[in-house]
């Protein structure tokens, strides 16, 4: 089962600093044209707010191979490193293809490329890949996504390769018939498996070099760079891995000789430094900081700066959520009234305006890979339709309006923060809905929201997928079997519809991404009529890059620059 997905937006940042991703129009601009053949050399600076949570591939929660991690760890598959919609595709990395399904998509077989090596020159084998996955099950190395535990046969109680006897140390669901072949046995059909194989847990780890929790002090690189120096939360300097070459890696360009990552910076400082671009900052990008609304306001007056902005769309939807099993939201008219009453314009302004967000009337973002189908069943226009809402409320038995409590967190400029909440309060007032606000600490906001026992009556939440497919987008929010009463529940609408559940199972078995996408889109369009959630907006991603930076585009998969493609020469 797909559970606990989401890369939630960093709560405390002054600017929305998403780790999200999905690039559309790569508008990399610089003085001379970019040529991948001659792009090598120089030092790329990366200015970030946060350090990578861990340097151990088992403990990184990211898909597509991550950004900085993908410079160190190659995975079986990876995201297609292209600008625009093509960037949402899965392509082979260490493997020769994106995987061969059999047994109704319950078995997936991969073959390793020839000539792939670790930084020490030893060849990468399928056992190394298997070992990397096995150790990610160790309770001592938490942090990764739980898909493997849920999908692999008999993995529920597997506790990693460190403890127990020889048998219990082995994860039988993964077979390595020879050094270049690896076979995965799943307990149910998962057409999305190639997407999952982009996760860093699929990076090879040489058993001989594994030092358990200390492995992250010196992880063995399989990518174009290796670690030169590392200071937690401060700096990470990468230098070339001489045992890597473009010949065995068609995806990564790896132009700069050195990648110098500075973390622990204030988002404003990052953007200001990128904008000013003085000194080394001319060679800088960021992989976790979007352009804020305040910087946007200056783009008009600064055309030079405007050229250094890349745009992308990480698939993310923000929505108003309520428990549809409880009054008054058990009445469809009430849900529809809310859908009509919202003012998407003011919500969008509150999160940074039309350059950073576009109105959402569907649950899936407007992306082909997601299977987007346009619909707007409860047209609220730009600023809401309070008259229609009032009418529906009267029908539902609330002729004099009603009072509800909207919980928000206390982080400024957060989608679930006070500005959006107040914007909604202001709009709903016009429809006769009195909204009381209640503040929840940003640290515990999602804990409360995702626990049915503490779930507030009304809240704004956001959803992004771990990979650009409709499945991880819709399943956690609409699959009734995904309701978790003890916490960690994302189906906050408490939808449990048999037809929906059955349709989800059906689509999961589709192994052709295009076909699957179409099916997810149709499912979204049919569910939209129920107004189980009120979609508010989808995010857009804008990021600045330094003056000397070339080929900087925002990936449609990660929503940030693909560092492996960027050049400073």
């Amino acid at each position: 089962m797909i559970r606990k997905t989401v890369v939630l937006v960093g709560a405390g940042a002054l600017l929305a600093g998403t780790l999200a991703a999905c690039g559309q129009s790569g508008s990399g601009t610089s003085t001379t044209a970019f040529d991948p053949k001659t792009c090598q050399g120089g030092t790329l600076k990366v200015l970030n707010q946060k350090d990578i949570t861990h340097l151990d591939p088992a403990r990184i929660y990211t898909s597509g191979g991550g950004n900085i991690p993908s410079l160190l760890f190659r995975t079986l598959t990876t995201r297609n490193r292209e600008a625009g919609a093509a960037g949402a595709k899965v392509v082979p990395d260490l493997a020769t293809d994106t995987g061969t399904p059999s047994d109704n998509a319950k078995t997936w077989t991969y073959h390793l490329r020839a000539g792939v090596k670790f930084e020490d020159g030893t060849a990468i084998t399928s056992q190394d890949v298997k070992y990397g996955i096995e150790r990610s099950f160790s309770p001592d190395l938490p942090g990764g996504a739980a898909y493997l535990r849920d999908w692999l046969v008999g993995a529920k109680n597997y506790a990693g390769p460190y403890k127990g006897d020889a048998k219990s140390r082995d994860l039988a669901a993964i077979e390595t018939p020879n050094t270049t072949t690896i076979v995965f046995h799943l307990n149910s059909p998962h057409g999305d498996f190639p997407y999952l194989a982009t996760a860093t847990q699929f990076a090879p780890v040489p058993k001989a070099k594994d030092t358990g929790v200390d492995y992250e002090k010196h992880p063995v690189s399989s990518g174009p760079y290796k670690i030169k120096s590392y200071q937690k939360n401060k700096s990470l300097v990468l230098e070339r891995n001489t045992n890597w070459s473009r010949k065995v890696d068609p995806e990564r360009l790896a132009c700069p000789d050195v990648v110098d990552v500075t973390s622990g910076l204030n988002p404003d400082v990052i953007n200001q430094r990128l904008a000013a671009g003085s000194g080394d900052d001319a060679n800088a990008v960021t992989t976790d900081t979007d352009l804020g609304p305040a910087q946007l306001s200056q783009l008009n007056s600064n055309p030079e700066l405007a050229k250094r902005v890349a745009k992308g769309n990480f698939p993310y939807t923000y929505y108003l959520t309520y428990d549809t099993t409880k009054a008054p939201f058990d009445k469809p008219q009430v849900r529809e009234a809310f859908s009509y009453a919202v003012n998407r314009n003011s919500v969008i302004n509150a999160v940074g305006g039309s350059s950073l967000a576009y109105p959402a009337t569907t649950f899936l973002p407007a992306q082909k890979s997601m299977g987007y189908q346009a619909y707007d069943y409860f047209p609220a226009g730009k600023s809401g339709n309070p008259a229609k809402a009032k009418q529906l409320l009267a029908q539902a038995g609330y002729p004099h309006g009603l009072t509800v409590t909207l919980a928000h967190n206390n982080a400024a400029a957060d989608p679930s923060g006070p500005e959006v909440a107040t914007a909604l309060q202001d709009a709903l007032k016009k429809a006769g809905i009195t909204v009381k606000l209640s503040t929840v600490d940003s640290n515990s906001f999602y804990d409360q929201l995702n626990n049915p026992k503490t779930q507030p009556q009304l809240a704004v939440a956001g959803w992004g997928a771990d990979w650009p497919s409709g499945g991880p987008f819709l399943i956690p929010l609409f699959d009734g079997r995904q309701i978790i009463p003890s916490g960690g529940n994302f189906n906050t609408a408490m939808v449990n519809d048999k037809a929906v559940n059955a349709e989800i199972d059906k689509i999961n078995g589709i192994t052709d991404p295009a076909q699957a996408a179409k099916a997810w889109g149709a499912l979204d369009a049919s569910m939209g009529k129920q107004a189980w959630y009120v979609p508010l907006y989808h995010g857009k991603n804008l990021a600045l890059f330094g003056k000397n930076v070339k080929n900087a585009w925002v990936s449609d998969w990660t929503g940030v620059y693909d560092v492996s493609q960027v050049s400073v020469k």
């Binding site: 403990r59 929660y61 160790s138 640290n443």
Partner: protein, 330 residues
Amino acid sequence: MARYLLKRVLGALVVLLVLSAVVYLIFYALPGNPAQLVCGPKTCQADQLHRIEVGLGLDQPIWLQYWHFLVGIVAGRTYSGGPEVIHCAAPCLGYSYQTGEPVTGLLLDRLPVSLSLIVGGFVIWVTVGVALGVLSALRRGRAVDRIATGLTLAGNSTPVFLVGLLLLIVFCVYLRWLPFPGYQALTVNPLLWAQNLILPWVALSVVSAAVYTRLTRTSMLETLSEDHIRTFRAYGLPERRVIGRHALRGALTPLITIGTIDLATSLTGTTLTESLFGLPGLGQLLVSSVRNIDLPVVVGVTLLAGAVIVVANAAADVLYSVADRRVALA
């Protein structure tokens, strides 16, 4: 002297003990599940959670946890949360829930940043503040004094983040004379170090120099009205010598105490400045740990700050008694 020091050290230890108890008990008694934080983003199984709790000793009563914490500081402690047993050498303040790093190391990492910020700032604000204070005392009631008084009032009335903001606008946005501050280690490149810190230094100085101007002016006026100044005038000492040697000495001695303690409180009192300029110092560490309820770090920073202040208090007394022989240490 030895007796005095012994007494001070004992007193300081008591203060620190109380401080640590208050900090520890308050923060650990508040709601929130640290084990969840350690476990990571939402992928934690219940048994895993329990193991972590046991490993961190969070299943024990709070007073016992505090006792282990204290023992850890003095003698180090051992955690068994991981695959292998982790030994945390004294002074052990525990591990960050967020990053899993030893708190002691985190503090030591951030210390140079905060130190660079305050020591540089301190030199500027004391120099400027004292010079302005002396000048305005000597030119009392004249234009210089009035201007200094005005500046003092303005400096006193401006929150540091406002000054910092103004400086950023002027020097980084409009004039573009300086880079947006970021920390560069002194050991790596002293010039860049200073260039990056100059704005934060100035921002701190604008606010703090005002205090010193005021104090120096008052103290100088007081000293100038003292009898021994009259004595030296009556004995024909040139005014420059009367002021430079006798008045200044008397006027500045009381600043020793304030200066020392100021230096100590600044170590963590510059949170706003660090936050505004994005300097990865102790203050910022604290703010981010508070946001993430990273209790060991919060407690660690608070204790370090308290310890520095307590030590500075004692140091101030000793320094003062050295500077002014009349004050006996007792």
